[in-house]
Amino acid sequence: MSASGSEAIYQKLYEEAKKNIDGKEGKTQVLVGTATCGVSAGALKIKEDFEREIKEKDLDVDVVEVGCIGHCYAEPLAVIAKPGHPAVCYGYLDDGLVHRLVEDFLAGDDPSYEYALAALDRNDVFPTFEDFPRGIYEQKLILENCGYIDTRDIFSYIARDGYKALSKALEEEPSAVLEEVKAANLRGRGGAGFPAGIKWEACIKSGQDEKYVICNADEGDPGAFMDRSILESDPHLVIEGMVLCAYAIGAQKGYLYIRAEYPRAVGHVQEAINQAREKGLLGESIMDTDFSFDLEIFQGSGAFVCGEATALVNSMEGNMGMPESRPPRLASQGFRGKPTVLNNVKTFAYVPYIINRGADWFKEIGTEDNPGTAVFSLVGKVNNTGLVEVPMGTTLRELVFDVGDGLRDNKEFKAVQIGGPSGGCLPESALDVPIDFDSLHEAGAIMGSGGLVVLDENDCMVSVSRYFLEFTQHESCGKCTFCRLGTKHMLDILNDITRGEGDAETLELLKDLAEDVRDGSLCNLGKTAPNPVLTTLEYFMDEYKAHIEEGRCPAGVCRELILYYIEPPKCSKLCNVCVGSCPTEAIFTRDDGLKEIDQEKCVKCDNCLKACPPEYNAIVKLSPPVLPPEKEKTAK
């Protein structure tokens, strides 16, 4: 190993990067968040607007694409860094606001704080993100760079100490990297929390020369987008983590398994790989040492089950993406039959930090058995949706009510669905559960890869559990009996319940079947598919009972169990809004001038309820679907 080389080479790279970045940072910059979350909210248009307006005014301002800053609720957003002012983040941008910011702040000198979300640098004028409750709980580690660096410029990463960990590691023996990761007790962020160091060590112990490193970016849970955001916002971080892993275990080749539905992530990562190769950070003789390692992207076709380790390897080998029984584990017999380390995007992302700052530093964050942070995509009926990173051990209550700023429209909290289709629904009483692998598992949910959906009083738990079952049933590969047929029958039973069909025996059968599918399935997709059902049965049994015993959906969601009704005393004879809103012409004006719904024609689309002006509020959902008695008289 030409040990003296790598840190010297890094120093040169770092200086080059600094020079490059400083040149830009002396100038005014507009950083537009163009991760998928931003793009879907119109960020590309906002970027064009900025560029056009800046050009029209002939200003010397750079417009840079950055990743996701985590405040997705306020997309599209941009950060303006102008010398002489703190860098300020603006959200909810549209063309008018862009015009105003360019005119007043870029051309003029007024930061227009009335439109700002927060400042990024501490200052005497305007609060920063850290001053909000979310900032108090949040501790950004692997999201540190997200939204602040130019995702398509390797210098931007290097200038923030990027690839420093690699240069440091290359000066030492590979075992030093392994020992540090083991000492840090880094647990895999893919869901189960298996210690990464032990996995890596097993791979080394296999004693074979040919080994592989694979990054699992087949993120597929509904509502989860952590891995996508990290790959789009800070791709080099993941690449550096993979190279470090490869160095530790002695692998020559690695793959990033990214689903093809993530074209931006695929694009950014490919660009990053190319740049890293160019700078000698990937490929032959990395940083002039005799260590060589290269990366390639493998695009998955979107089957959820391919996130399962053996199914992922099968699909990479050109076989059907179906799981195999284990053992043998991937660490001894993985891709092409060779020892393979497969870790999640986030797991790799922690590695450069652990090498740079040390295992002891890492272990100070989070809890004793669960060091580090947890990254969540916080979505659902919560005010501040977005990508958040909190230390392990933060409670669900803090996450929902402080970081997420509570529920929208002051609705009542009902449950959090955590861990996606493999996770569970936890009620109010479980909100003080600390977020870590073990506590969540005990409560019946799983950490999963980090999807967290907040549900309120308007969500029907039977319907939610049906939704997730529909997902897993659709995504079941069909290989094993329990998952193929068990999820099908569970879904059928849940469909019956949402129609009010069934009895006490139905619920018993559902529970028995769910437990058997959990115990009998071949892979973790099947083993965990019953979790949404089992947790809702445990915590929300009264809702199930209301459906089958009273034919009533308490949240008014299950269509077969509700009807829409216009309360005559509240209806204004002078208003016709509901009539116009109805797509099936089910609402008519009676002889006495009041409006009425023809139940035969009504498709329960909810339009009239939304359309009825708040001053009348005359339309209600009734469950069970029975018209009030006096109503039936007049209807005939």
């Binding site: 009996t481 115990d519 009998g520």
Partner: protein
């Protein structure tokens, strides 16, 4: 030659070859464990029928006997309330997707499903789950045999026979989830495919999905 070890299955001490899969050891010693998909020569067991569950002392959950290697001193149970419950559910799930007309089936009295029912005291006509309706057509294009897909339990024995024994590769698994099925490439009739009608697949079928026309009663 692998070393001989002593293990206990259902309180019976047995001498077995270390490393062999538990299922075959048990069957050789006349200890019945329900199974459909297991193939002795298959290196990595399919483990898809999920019927051969056993309990092993020191392992906290049931495991499939077809995947578990024999180890010295292993203490195995093939029956317990939990195991029986899992096997019953797995079996009934399979039957909820099986065209159960034994009297008209070529495999009547030689069917693996009937064996499991008999050995474990289970009913073939299960009532817990609704029958899944299929409108598969019988493929009777080969001269001597036919394929009734709605009787198939997806054990994969025919696919193994076709690929590993006959070395033809006319049939394979297709589709996903509840629609998973065994069929020819592009789902064409067997006679139009590369099938050589060697009928090794028919001999391998444990349930009468692939059957000789002459056996039809």
């Amino acid at each position: 030659m692998s070393e001989l070890v002593k293990i206990t299955i259902d309180d019976r001490e047995i001498e077995a070859r270390a490393g062999e899969k538990l299922l075959w050891t048990a069957l050789e010693n006349d200890i019945y464990i329900p199974h459909l998909c297991a193939i002795k020569d298959e290196k990595r067991p399919n483990a898809s029928c999920r019927l051969c569950f056993v309990e092993i002392e020191g392992v906290d959950h049931p495991v499939t006997a077809c995947t578990r290697k024999v180890e010295e001193g292993m203490v195995v149970k093939t029956r317990s309330p939990h195991l029986d419950r899992l096997v019953k559910t797995g079996f009934e799930l399979l039957l909820s997707d099986h065209d159960l007309k034994c009297a008209k089936c070529a495999a009547n009295k030689s069917c693996a499903l009937q064996t499991i029912a008999k050995e474990r005291g289970l009913k073939l006509r299960q009532k817990r789950f609704k029958l899944i309706e299929r409108d598969y057509k019988i493929d009777d294009s080969p001269a001597e045999f036919a394929y009734n897909r709605s009787r198939c339990v997806l054990c994969g024995q025919c696919v193994w026979a076709d690929r590993e024994e006959a070395k033809v590769g006319a049939i394979g698994f297709t589709q996903r989830g509840v629609n998973r099925a065994v069929t020819t490439f592009e789902d064409i009739p067997l006679a139009d495919s590369i099938c050589t009608e060697c009928h090794l697949c028919v001999d391998a079928c444990p349930v009468g999905a692939l059957y000789y026309k002459s056996d039809l009663k």
